[in-house]
């Protein structure tokens, strides 16, 4: 889990605003779920999925090959389950038939579009900008925004805790790879108890720093030039999925 924090101290100077990018990614997610048409999904995969995957690969590496495996898995499953209809093509002695092929294509293109939309957001926005714009621009309640920011603070700490707990398990002669529910409990209990104790004190500290005085702050999202491009792309993909334009 790499954390992406920018080196900027001033306001964001990215060509697109965080809010616009978030709304765009959510919109493409909705579109990709809404349609089953392989051509329409192909359009989404091309316009959003592919750029997202390229950006995502540069940042998260291993996730993208894993995605490839999952696409392949879908194909194999479909072959196993439902290889009927007219032959489409063959790989050696294996004849791939229409039903399996059509369903694989739709499903895989959707998976690509969904992952791409998510990666597009995750690999261009750092978490702290995301939290800030969710609270200030999109009106996320301050309590939830605080929980989200604190959770992001905790993640690397929990990871460190996990390594310590694993170290002690080894010292005390217990399995390194947990198997039984008891193993899992013995792994998570120390983690949880340490983190819960931290949580209670962080709550106290936040109150002593004026959390309940925090004014609700709404700022109209400041749109940037690049947002126009996102808007055009969003509308275009919307029209295609609605069947009003394109392939």
């Amino acid at each position: 889990m790499r954390s992406g924090y920018s080196r900027r101290l001033g306001g964001s100077r990215a060509p697109v605003s965080v809010s616009a990018l978030l709304l765009y990614s959510l919109w493409v997610t909705v579109l990709a779920v809404a349609t089953s048409d392989p051509w329409k999904l192909g359009f989404l995969a091309l316009v959003t999925g592919l750029p997202g995957l390229v950006l995502g690969y540069r940042r998260y590496g291993v996730l993208v090959p894993l995605l490839g495996l999952s696409l392949l898995g879908t194909f194999l499953n479909m072959l196993l389950l439902y290889n009927v209809g007219d032959p489409v093509f063959s790989i050696g002695p294996l004849v791939v038939r229409e039903e399996a092929w059509r369903r694989t294509v739709s499903l895989d293109l959707r998976i690509l579009s969904l992952a791409g939309a998510g990666l597009l957001f995750a690999s261009t926005v750092n978490p702290r900008d995301a939290v800030r714009s969710l609270e200030v621009e999109l009106g996320m309640p301050r309590g939830f925004a605080f929980a989200l920011a604190f959770a992001l603070r905790l993640l690397p700490l929990v990871y460190r805790d996990l390594q310590e707990v694993m170290a002690v398990r080894r010292m005390r002669g217990y399995r390194r790879v947990p198997i039984t529910p008891g193993d899992y409990r013995s792994l998570f209990m120390p983690l949880l108890s340490v983190t819960v104790e931290r949580g209670i004190w962080v709550g106290v500290a936040a109150e002593l720093r004026g959390f309940s005085l925090r004014p609700r702050r709404r700022v109209r999202p400041r749109f940037r030039r690049g947002d126009l491009v996102l808007l055009v792309l969003a509308v275009l993909q919307g029209l295609v999925v609605a069947g009003l334009a394109g392939p």
Partner: protein, 186 residues
């Protein structure tokens, strides 16, 4: 608990649950892939891991709304970490959170023990089924088409298997999550 109003400590505990849930959810993708080798057993063995966000939050906070927000927060972080599911994680989080919350509501927001965790976890499985029916309906269609063709299983039977697997997995992991969260909160 005297009041149902959320204090800042409750929100901090929500953050705790969100972080722990995000780690579990992230790991769950790998568990899922691993168990996919054993075919239909992947579901009962791993899907319940994705419901633990609501159980941990509810057991720690013991207030209405905790189960829903806990599941949602875990899913939001899972989406921005990111995982393969992208923002569909949030769809799953909302639906699973609603059904887990329903579990605690049915118990009158009075029980936060292991049994309650198992019930809420089992119910969250309904949310998972709904989300998958929406997001990956082709999988379900293929399974049910082939099922009805070979005469082994009707679409109804597949839904029943699916729900049962979700319920077993959700109850199991829900009970574990509730037990751990109960011992953790002093």
């Amino acid at each position: 608990m005297a009041s149902r109003r959320w204090t800042v400590i409750d929100f901090a505990l929500l953050g705790v649950s969100g972080a722990v849930a995000a780690v579990i959810f992230y790991a769950a993708w790998y568990v899922w892939d691993l168990f996919s080798a054993v075919g239909p057993l992947a579901r009962p063995l791993s899907v319940g891991l994705w419901f633990t966000g609501s159980i941990i939050a509810a057991t720690l906070i013991k207030k209405p709304g905790a189960a829903f927000l806990g599941e949602l927060l875990g899913a939001v972080i899972e989406a921005i970490l990111p995982t393969r599911g992208g923002f569909t994680n949030v769809i799953y989080g909302v639906l699973q959170g609603i059904f887990a919350e329903l579990g605690y509501r049915l118990l009158g927001y009075k029980r936060w023990d292991i049994v309650a965790g198992a019930i809420a976890g089992a119910l969250a499985g309904v949310g998972e089924l709904l989300a998958t029916l929406v997001v990956y309906r082709e999988i379900f269609q293929a399974v049910s088409d082939v099922g009805s063709e070979v005469g082994l299983a009707s679409p109804g039977a597949i839904i029943v298997y699916w729900l049962a697997a979700n319920a077993v997995s959700g109850a199991l992991y829900g009970a574990i999550a509730a037990a751990a969260a109960r011992s953790a909160r002093g």
